[in-house]
């Protein structure tokens, strides 16, 4: 197997996906045994794959912001009586709370951080409220803060288009509340095309990862529009 074949047939990515045919895989691995450059290319593709997957779920982006007191900002909003009261009901109110400098994006500058923007959108549940619209910048990150209820060990969030037949576009289980009992869900803006969505929140009381049964807590509908 020569390097032209590997390049033209995208064998590196197909190898990582596990979709090479048996003969191709044998020949590819034979080359891997002696070709240091190929090992490096695979290593790079693995990093890219892992990075994109992490970015897609991107919980890391809101895990522990440094240099920015997200907790204080959210606390300020939740201190407003009507929002605090609203947290125990069902339906959606959304506020565009502000723009956060993404603290984990490094540019090698003096502080090491760049000006990548993240919209923070508290997604509170309020009975009887109309569905609000989030303005999503496709070049920025959007963080949905979901207020959680009940005493669960962890939560699962599923986001899908508001269509019973739609496939989930985002699913994550094992979530635990971060700030003020809110789950922080970070998504690249371009994952949220303009349209109507439903965020389903489920909870489990089981702490054993192999034995989790989730109970439905609530569905929160919301709508997105492209930011101007």
């Amino acid at each position: 197997m020569d390097s032209n074949y590997i390049e033209q047939h995208l064998l590196i990515d197909r190898y990582l996906q596990g979709t090479l045919k048996e003969g191709e895989k044998d020949a590819f691995e034979e080359r891997l045994v002696w070709d240091q450059e190929l090992v490096d290319e695979l290593d790079l593709a693995e990093h890219l794959r892992e990075g994109l997957r992490a970015a897609a779920t991107a919980r890391e982006y809101v895990a522990k912001p440094r240099g920015f007191n997200l907790a204080a900002m959210v606390a300020g909003m939740f201190a407003v009586p009507q929002y605090a009261a609203a947290a125990s009901f069902v339906l959606a109110v959304m506020l565009t709370a502000g723009v956060l400098l993404n603290p984990f994006v490094n540019t090698g500058g003096s502080q090491g951080y760049t000006t990548a923007q993240t919209e923070i959108v508290p997604l509170l549940a309020v009975r009887g409220a109309s569905i609000s619209t989030i303005n999503v910048d496709e070049n920025a990150w959007t963080v949905l803060l979901v207020d959680v209820m009940g005493n669960y060990a962890s939560y699962r969030v599923t986001i899908r288009k508001d269509d019973p037949a739609a496939e989930p576009i985002w699913v994550q289980d094992g979530l635990t509340p971060t700030y003020l009992d809110a789950l922080a869900i970070s998504m690249p803006g371009d994952a949220l095309d303009a349209g109507r969505y439903v965020l389903s929140l489920e909870g489990t009381t089981e702490s054993d990862p192999g034995d989790k049964k989730y109970e439905q807590i609530q569905d929160i509908p919301f709508e997105t529009a492209a930011a101007e």
Partner: protein, 212 residues
Amino acid sequence: MAKATLIPLHKQDSALEEERRTAARIVRGIHDGDSAAETALVERYSTGLRYLLMRRIGDEERARDLLQDTFCIAIAKLRETEIENPERLAGYLRGIAIRVAMNDGRRRNREPYLMEVEAVAQVKDREPRQFEHVAREQTLSAVHKLLKSMPVKRDREILTRLYVRDQDKQEICDALGLDSLHYNRVLFRAKRRFRKLMEKSVHTADFAPNLG
């Protein structure tokens, strides 16, 4: 009359030619009792075999032990017998490594091969890879910069569909209305750009995120 010249469509793979010559030389050397050839074998094939073993068993320490076993078996055989295609030594070694890994899975307690092979001492405890020390945050940062540097949404979508959703090329091209050439070009450029960003991360020694 003008002379016709054949222009090869593909660049010649000189590395492959070099490998075939080197492999044949190593095989002949080991068979002739040359210990330097045994050392050359270990040095040349350690990185790739270790990577393969790591992918199969996912444990660095065990991969190193199995790598040593692989070389012990290979050297013992190459000393005593002549293999059919010496220029395809890599394939021969890969076959041994796979069998060693499979047998290891069946054995409850691994017993080391008792054979004395001096060259096997050359096997390092760890094989540093180029991007091994790049922190997760730096990888994320490089990915973020890469995505920002891609102005066309459809091009970014290719990466997401390929690496996050594990879709195959045809599926992605069909869904996005792309031709094969465009798909390959976007991937090639994205990887080249990502490599540069990652190489910069490797050299950014002062970036040490404190997440505690």
